[in-house]
Amino acid sequence: MSDPPADGELVRLARDGDEVAFGLLVKRYQRPAYAVALSVTGRHEDAEDAAQESFLVALSRLEECRSPERFGGWLMTIVRNRSKNLIRRESLRETEQVPPGARSSAPTPDKVAENIELRSLLEEALARLPEVQREIVLLHDMEGWKHREIAERLEIPSGTVRSHLHFARKALRAALGEVPGVPEILRKAQ
């Protein structure tokens, strides 16, 4: 069985409009792109929009990807920037149009389910982390990326990734642990 095609090869094919090659790139990076977008926006809908837009932007700018072998890192930079632009636009729109307090964080009826409650708690806990820690903990613990992969794609030293991961987890555990009922929810979720 042959190895999966490398990013560099797929990028070169996608530059010539190869649908299968671009499709493989999307499949390979859709989850990490979503995780990075979620780490910046903190909301599912925004993360989805930003991640999808980022793939289209990346396709239209494929010639600017100078090292096709490092497509992943280049794409994550686009995702991060698109996500930041999106929340900037949204915050501007909210300031202009939506009265304060309209976007309430009060629990809605569908949030009574335990996994939804846990998700909401996690989102709050993640929101308190620095952006880089959110990104690393989501890529490592949600997407299963290795330290080395994260370091390469985020272009930071591997030791820094380990350190950020450690502090992110510590903060998450503390945040989830101090909320009454969370240990029980976690236990049930497992």
């Binding site: 530059r15 190869d18 989850r31 979503y34 396709l59 996690l122 949600m142 380990r162 350190s163 497992q190």
Partner: protein, 134 residues
């Protein structure tokens, strides 16, 4: 020494797998609510990318001959039009306004000496030095 140090640092930093946190973070995966989520996400991106991929395929099929042909389709008629306009201007200029004909312009001016490029005995002079050249 370095291995020991690295292993110690990893243990201190707690960077292995944490099933409890991984399990909790799974609830943030949209697929935990909708099993077809990533399939639909992929489809959405591919639908959005269709026109750009088609444009790229078309560009990749273009050869240098195609590019030259498309270029010449624009340039040749433009050049022909420019030549026709230039000819019209020349014909008009020749027929009147300045009153200068081609013969006038090309005629020799009286009294100007005709330049002599080579005198009749130049070859003889050169030939006379021939034997002295090594």
């Amino acid at each position: 020494m370095m291995t020991w140090f690295r292993r110690g640092a990893d243990e201190m930093l707690d960077t292995g797998t944490d099933p409890r946190i991984a399990e909790a973070l799974e609830t943030l995966d949209p697929a935990s609510r909708d099993a077809n989520y990533w399939f639909r996400f992929h489809g959405g991106v591919m639908a959005g990318a269709a026109s750009e991929l088609a444009r790229r395929r078309m560009m990749a099929r273009l050869t240098i001959v195609d590019v030259m042909a498309s270029w010449s389709r624009t340039v040749v008629p433009t050049a022909m039009l420019a030549a026709a306009v230039a000819a019209l201007i020349l014909v008009r200029a020749g027929s009147g306004a300045l009153g200068v004909s081609a013969e006038d312009v090309l005629a020799e001016l009286p009294g100007e000496p005709v330049p002599v490029l080579q005198e009749s005995n130049a070859a003889v002079i050169f030939a006379s030095f021939g034997p002295d050249n090594f």
